[in-house]
């Protein structure tokens, strides 16, 4: 209490001593006032999280493992912060006992523990970012529902990959052409420049007229342009070669990615879209999308339903595949018969036409003779009948061909789907984990709410840890004896508060 200010009244007889309004130092009072605002701030944050978390119905809030939260890291960090609370209080005790060396030692230990906490925090944040779990504009990769919008987002991402690869392949082709063409141009340029220089000196030797002046200026400009182009090529050629080498090095990988993306696009995503749009069964419409979401990013609690659906789908598709093959065989047989029939009919038609022709010729020769009018009329009727039959058979052939095409397409789709099902079943931890580059959208119920609140709370807490560490660094050069114990006490109060917040964050974020 050195600030009592009695020194101003030395000259009188009365020695006045001011009592402070509060039974503590001003510094401590200010720290406590500051902490009271902090308490309200974090109480609001944590309270808001509690309400959102516990208001979410069962299975609509991500479990720790759904969002790559590891309990042991949280527990470890809790332990680290508890230890740091003890060490800062020991530093204070040492300072009060006037042992500045030991006080500094404990302060350094506290600082190191704070750094360890932040290190683990960084590890955790990195794993979230790598898995695409973070708030983002215009849209994060987290989806609330495995609905048609989710499937459309998957399609967009996969076709994006395919077209990126196509673009890169085009660029590679262009560059492959450029590294042949450009050196040829580069070789030709010095000769062209020499020619121009000869022309220039010739023009210089001649008498100068306006025309020659103009021609000279023109030649000089051409020389300058060509030289500039030569210099440009000197840069462009190595750059093209470098880029080409890079593209060639990644060509196989790129091609593989494009093939995987295309395969998924055709047999997983488009299949899902078509089934979701056309199936008469509402449960199937729902489940086919849920199964896709499960393959992209498996949530443990949907495992049973998704796998059961996929097994049923596989079985019914195998049956359908057999039926379709049979149907196709029947249709092909039918088409053959129809074609044969058509050929026969055409032949017969030709015969009848010939008969009609010969009959009419004979009729013309014996113009007065009306002995065979009925047979001519019969032939004409027969011809008409055959023509009608040909038209009908042709129509039937067309219909049959259309049906065959349709059956074939469906068979192709079903076979593609059947081929991808076992492949997907083997992808144990989801497509996003299997192919890190694929970065498909994920279905995590309340995932966005979780990511926002998680980063908000742990982020604010981490900022407080950083501020605490800065204060520790500022205290370190001081001699931490009994006179300075107040500094350590106030810093300690703040640091304990940081620990206090974590005491609530740990179970809320890691264990619920």
């Amino acid at each position: 209490m050195a600030e009592h200010g009695a020194g101003h009244h030395d000259h009188g007889h009365v020695h006045l001593t001011y009592q402070p309004a509060m039974p503590m130092s001003k510094g401590k009072l200010i720290v406590w006032l500051f902490l009271s605002t902090e308490i309200m701030f974090f109480a609001a944050l944590i309270g808001e999280y509690i309400v959102l978390r516990f208001g979410a119905p069962a299975n609509t809030w991500p479990g720790p493992h759904d969002v790559h939260v590891k309990e042991w890291i949280g527990a470890l960090n809790t332990f680290v912060l508890i230890c740091s609370s003890v060490t800062i209080v020991l530093a204070l005790e040492m300072a009060k006992a006037n042992k500045p060396g030991l006080a500094k030692m404990w302060l350094t230990v506290t600082f190191s523990l704070g750094c360890i906490f932040l290190g683990w925090k960084a590890v955790e944040y990195t794993s979230k970012f790598q898995h695409g779990i973070y708030p983002a504009q215009p849209r994060s990769r987290l989806y609330e529902k495995a609905d048609i919008y989710y499937v459309a987002a998957c399609r967009e991402r996969l076709s994006g990959i395919v077209s990126e690869v196509a673009e890169a392949n085009n660029r590679q082709d262009q560059l492959a052409k450029a590294v042949v063409d450009l050196p040829a141009e580069q070789e030709a340029l010095p000769g062209e420049i020499d020619e121009l220089r000869d022309e220039e000196s010739k023009l210089l030797d001649e008498e100068s007229s306006d025309e020659q002046q103009e021609a000279l200026a023109d030649v000089r400009q051409q020389i300058a342009e060509k030289e500039a182009r030569l210099a440009e090529l000197g840069r462009e050629i190595p750059a093209s070669e470098r880029e080409l080498a890079e593209l060639e090095a990644t060509a196989d990988e790129r091609q593989e990615r494009a093939e995987i993306a295309q395969h998924l696009l055709d047999n997983a995503v488009r299949w899902t879209e078509v089934t979701a749009a056309r199936s008469d069964d509402p449960v199937q419409r729902k489940m086919v999308m849920a199964a896709l979401a499960y393959h992209v990013y498996p949530l443990h609690r949907f495992e049973h339903e998704a796998l059961a659906y996929l097994e049923a789908e596989g079985k019914s598709l195998s049956v359908e595949q057999k039926q379709l093959s049979n149907q196709l065989a029947t249709l092909t047989g039918e088409q053959k018969t129809l074609n044969q029939k058509l050929l026969d009919l055409k032949k017969r038609q030709d015969d009848v036409n010939n008969q009609i022709n010969s009959a009419s010729a004979a009729g013309a020769e014996a113009s007065g003779d009306e002995s065979q009018p009925s047979s001519a009329a019969d032939l004409q009727a027969e011809a008409n009948r055959i023509a009608a039959e040909v038209t009908a058979t042709e129509a039937a052939t067309k219909t049959s061909a259309a049906m065959a095409t349709e059956t074939e397409n469906r068979l192709k789709a079903v076979s593609g789907r059947l081929s991808i099902l076992p492949e997907l079943a083997e992808v144990e931890h989801g497509l996003n984990e299997e192919y890190h580059w694929i970065e498909l959208p994920m279905f995590i119920p309340s995932g966005n709410m979780w990511a926002s609140t998680y980063f908000l709370m742990t982020g604010f807490h981490a900022i407080h840890v950083i501020v605490g560490l800065i204060v520790f660094v500022l205290l370190m050069p001081m001699r931490l004896d009994a006179k300075r114990a107040g500094f350590l006490e106030n810093t300690g109060l703040y640091w304990h508060f940081v620990d206090l917040v974590w005491i609530f964050l740990f179970p809320l974020l890691y264990l619920f």
């Binding site: 503590m24 309400v51 809790t78 309340s446 206090l500 179970p507």
Partner: protein
């Protein structure tokens, strides 16, 4: 935290009248034990034997106890004067009030779904599917 016997310490004396390394280590051990207790709720044994809401309540109770220990001993509130009540009691009341005010509309937002809310809310897959199955069966 309330310890009325030591609440009236005068300003200059409190710094020498409390604490002690032994006490701090005791609190440290208690904090470690409590942390292990809350971590224990994540074991399969606990999940299989204790209802979820009891687990949540237990963990919050453990957290509050830990917070109490830190505030009382590490932050020395045990040995502070009566101003500590001015600081802690209103803050506690306001925190509780904040949560209580949000419970009816936000916390229980999914208990009574309006159509608009249900369309824009996350819903568990299983329930929706089962509802649809039921609707299907009702139709036939």
């Amino acid at each position: 935290m309330a310890n009325h016997h030591s609440a009236g310490h005068a300003a200059g004396h409190d710094e020498h009248a409390h604490g002690g390394v032994g006490l701090y280590l005791g609190v440290f051990v208690a904090l470690c034990v409590l942390t292990s207790a809350s971590l224990f709720t994540y074991t399969p044994f606990w999940r299989d034997h204790v209802p979820m809401h009891i687990g949540w309540t237990f963990m919050m109770a453990v957290s509050c106890t830990k917070a109490m220990l830190v505030v009382t001993f590490f932050m020395h509130l045990k040995w502070e004067a009566n101003w500590k009540y001015v600081l802690t009691i209103p803050a506690t009341i306001m925190s509780i009030f904040l949560v209580m005010m949000l419970v009816p509309d936000i916390g229980q937002r999914t208990n009574y779904y309006s159509r608009q809310r249900s369309e824009h809310a996350a819903a568990p897959l299983a329930e929706e599917v089962h509802e649809q199955i039921e609707a299907e069966q009702a139709e036939h």
